[in-house]
Assembly symmetry: D2
Homo-oligomer: 340 residues x 4
């Protein structure tokens, strides 16, 4: 069986396993006070700015929930694209902390600065706006849930609206590496740090067993963030599990190598589909590829290949997703191509 | 430096590392639908009853929070000993889900059935009780935060009060192995399953990198528990991380071996203190040992040994804690003894 | 100034004032245990079924919040029309209790049974639905926020979908009297009780100073509802304030008389607009009337008449709302007509 | 039957009824934007400082819940006396908003500055305090739940600890009038405003049908407090109900007259018990009186008098409560005395 189901269907990059093995017997305090968490945070600060606050959390929904809850007052709301992960696939995690997710139309998975500005303008133009949840934070994903990318110009425009309107800007980077290493990307992680108030560098989907590094540039972490993490049940006793992995990921550019390689394989996969005449559902320059299959094609492929159905289309065909990761091998692409 | 600071200051038992390495490249679906989660759950059901619902969560506070939130109505409260972990060291995790933690006096870390019954009797005798948070769940730890153990008789009596009063009984087993493998323990894990409505088998503190196996005997998991886990940000994309570890822990009795060995070393450590004339702060038959040090003794030992101060005593001395784990070696005990 | 701003811009029907004055010195226990609450509940049960549980709350948002929170598990969601009050104008009250409001398209303020069924079918057809907030309750308003009415057939069809799908059906009756007394209405309050799991009979907007009577037919109140009310800060010490008013409203059919009279005046108001050639924005058979004004008409009328702007239209005109109530006099309609 | 059950067992002072009747037909906007709310707020500002923010809420638990939720971050806790209303009789309203209530010993219903300081010092001395809910607000009642009063010196000392420690100070004044009008009281409402960050002037228990005026001195209301009130379901559509009543209460000193008179009657009642040799349970200088009855005395009195049992005593006797209000008449005291 060829596996393109997701980027979380294998363990972790072998270098992380090695780092876990090597550090295994070294005694260090718990709760993120170990030497690896410190070292990993320093390496991330070297990339994002020396005044960045860095915390390690376990997974994406957890990071979204804890960060958003830590930044909003009770009645405040989050703005997200209607396809945003927090709006769709987190079982109401944000609402569970008391906040409404206000959705804007998704343009290939992306928000647009103009629509964001209009949304805020209409909000304040409404005489009854104090009876409505006030947007106070914008959530977006880079790359998006559809694998697409914000350009630096697009993100800068959104950031400008946020700053003018007093909105926090939060970038979900569960797959950040695949975005920044895409040939289509024109921004650096430093740009992300400059344009956003908080973001995370995804580990789980980029070669780690688990873990997301939450970064608040410019000492932006809210008071008591450590306690907020603890209260949400998101603090690991063996915080080293995250520290060791992120320290390895940010040693000798491993994080970027993993990302770049997976995107290259994704481009080969995309080319294979194109060559065989399969239409795209979305034109993604990152590690998630969305193509359209007929029911017959889908049924045939499912015998040998694991992939996921994104959504049934009205004409009976299916938008499906193929994902590459650190574990994908070039020969997997060739084998897939042979089956198309 | 000799390390007795806690049972979460090293990585994991080497057999778990091996299992992680071995399974690393095997592709499996995420979110706990992998083969190891299934296998581990089966092994746990073999111990606890075939009708047990088993879920794997990341850590103790997370398990406490998610389980309690899933079982209570909005206005309902939890009863815990005043020394209970949820009452003291979880940054308000339970209150964060909307529920009051009502505390009863701690008797060496334990609740007593009689006091529980009195508490419930007084509650319902109060004509205004509908204006008060109604206790609906009892939380206790086995072993307790002071390393002490409920006897089977004590737990049975508490369980009987709970059943009579319609209270759910939840046992925090973050260190369950150390409890059940203590020579002082007269109950089995099957007894725990019979007496409680839900409990967890701690992994993080018993040789795993992370992970607690939540067990609801008699198909007792509340409707939608999976979604509750997801909403709390407690669902790992790579659920296999927990499955692989628990599968290894419950293969060939590794979990019990780790626990038994650590308790034996703890007994040796206790004997060493006794031999040298140090008084005990609590008489623990498990892997956490509590002794009393003078300020001078404390200062001297701290140079070579890592341990934690539990609480300053009124007479200027200190109750301190020494903890053993899978990573403790017999020679560490000898070396410590030489320093006493 | 002619006042058509809303149905909550005056005090209360004089008979309620009289009842308050008459009962003022009578000593009775607090928290809803007074004789008038009991009497009012009996009168409501006589209308809705002897097995109805009846509670008195203060206002609409409060009732929506308390009722919904009392009926849902943590991860469960509410379905509402996109124009539903809870989706728009309650400052995130429902999300504040942890629940997502899932919106469906509004058809003149109404949900449709077919769309509800499709929504549920799609939800369960999605293989990842356990990662999404599960709808468990349907919220609708009768009359709607646009003054329109569900026919008995429409409500029956929605009720049938709810029962088949295991959804609770909650009817917001903040203006229920104006709905049931409309000549266009083909259902009785007994029908409402039969078709819904919970609803409320609005007092605040139908002649009372404050108060909504929440009705759970068929002993449907969830366990501990009184405590839930208390926990939400929604229990009045002087519960009699609500009891006295509802007792008066349901004596000699006053509630229905107030409602019928206001609807008659609203129909006269609507006829006046029609006669003068003003287009309708929505065709409402109840006490809220929505017409379209040009900017010039709006500006002119605002000098002498208080009404509210519902929304600006794309062509520069305005949808505006005129509301009648117990306090509206026939001569007000004549005076308004003279100004059109 | 003589009624001393509580101060919320009758309607409202007749002057408030008159004001409601007089204003009844005057049309004014809803949601607290009416002329009476404005006028009442101005009168309260004249007493408490021109820079005070004033809001009108419905009841005590509601005010406690909304105010506390508006001022705390997620993981922060409230400190209260163990007898404090929020700690005992609000069905977990504060926990329902996510916050722990940390209790300190009650000294006749009061907190002590020294114990508060010790509590904070211990908190920060604990190396693990970031794992604990951080106290951020102090709640106290004036008069207390036992009718006792903080002296100006006591309140000043508590206020000083709060300011040094960065704690907000919140005074529950559900019976504030009875406190300030007690001959034993040495502080003014202006003192309260100077020493506290927020407090409320109770209406429900001091002659109104409902209503508490929340005062944030020095423009201390948190951003978006109006929306917070709305989100909690605590905003009345007919906000005038509260405005009219508070405007009447603060016209010609009615609030103080009601309070002074009830305290005088309470002192007469206390003297009657003393004269007849009944022991006091607490020595209250305000409108709640606590005496001790034998079972026989209690049984006998209950035939003719309504009062409440505060708590059974260990020796078989009962602490009981008698309360006076605006509705108590001098002849009621005489009649009671005759029965003792």
């Amino acid at each position: 069986m060829l596996y393109f189901l997701s980027d979380y269907t294998e363990g972790c990059h072998e270098k992380l396993l090695e780092a876990l093995a090597e550090s295994n017997r070294v005694s260090q305090p718990g709760y993120g006070e170990d030497r690896w968490c410190r070292s990993a945070a320093e390496k991330i600060r070297a990339l994002c700015g020396e005044d960045a606050d860095v915390y390690f959390l376990n997974g994406g929904t957890q990071a979204n929930r804890v960060v958003i809850a830590s930044l909003l007052r009770g009645y405040e709301a989050v703005i997200a694209a209607e396809t945003g992960h927090i709006a769709v696939h987190e079982a109401g995690a944000i609402e569970g902390t008391g906040h409404k997710v206000v959705t804007l139309p998704s343009r290939e998975g992306k928000l647009r600065a103009g629509e964001l500005e209009s949304c805020m303008a209409s909000f304040f133009a409404d005489a009854t706006h104090e009876h409505m949840p006030e947007p106070a934070l914008v959530y977006l994903s880079q790359p998006t849930e559809l694998g697409t990318l914000y350009s630096k110009k697009e993100l800068s425009e959104i950031s400008a609206v946020c700053r003018r309107r007093g909105l926090k800007l939060f970038l979900d980077g569960a797959r950040l590496g695949y975005g920044l290493m895409s040939p289509a990307c024109d921004m650096s992680i430093r740009d992300v740090a400059e344009l956003c108030d908080v973001f995370y560098i995804g580990g789980t989907k980029v070669g780690a067993l688990c873990g997301e590094a939450v970064v608040f540039p410019r000492h932006g972490a809210p008071k008591g963030f450590f306690s907020t993490v603890k209260q949400h049940g998101a603090l690991l006793a063996k915080g080293r599990l995250l520290g060791v992995q992120f320290d390895a990921l940010f040693t000798d550019g491993l994080y970027w190598d993993i990302s770049r390689r997976a995107v290259e394989l994704a481009m080969a996969l995309k080319a294979a589909f194109a060559e065989k005449g399969y239409p795209l559902f979305a034109d993604s320059p990152t590690n998630q590829q969305f193509v359209i299959l007929t029911a017959a094609q889908k049924e045939r492929l499912e015998k040998d290949v694991a992939f996921s159905v994104w959504q049934p289309l009205d004409d009976g065909r299916f938008a499906v997703r193929f994902v590459t990761s650190w574990a994908t091998r070039p020969e997997d692409i060739q084998a897939l191509k042979a089956l198309l």
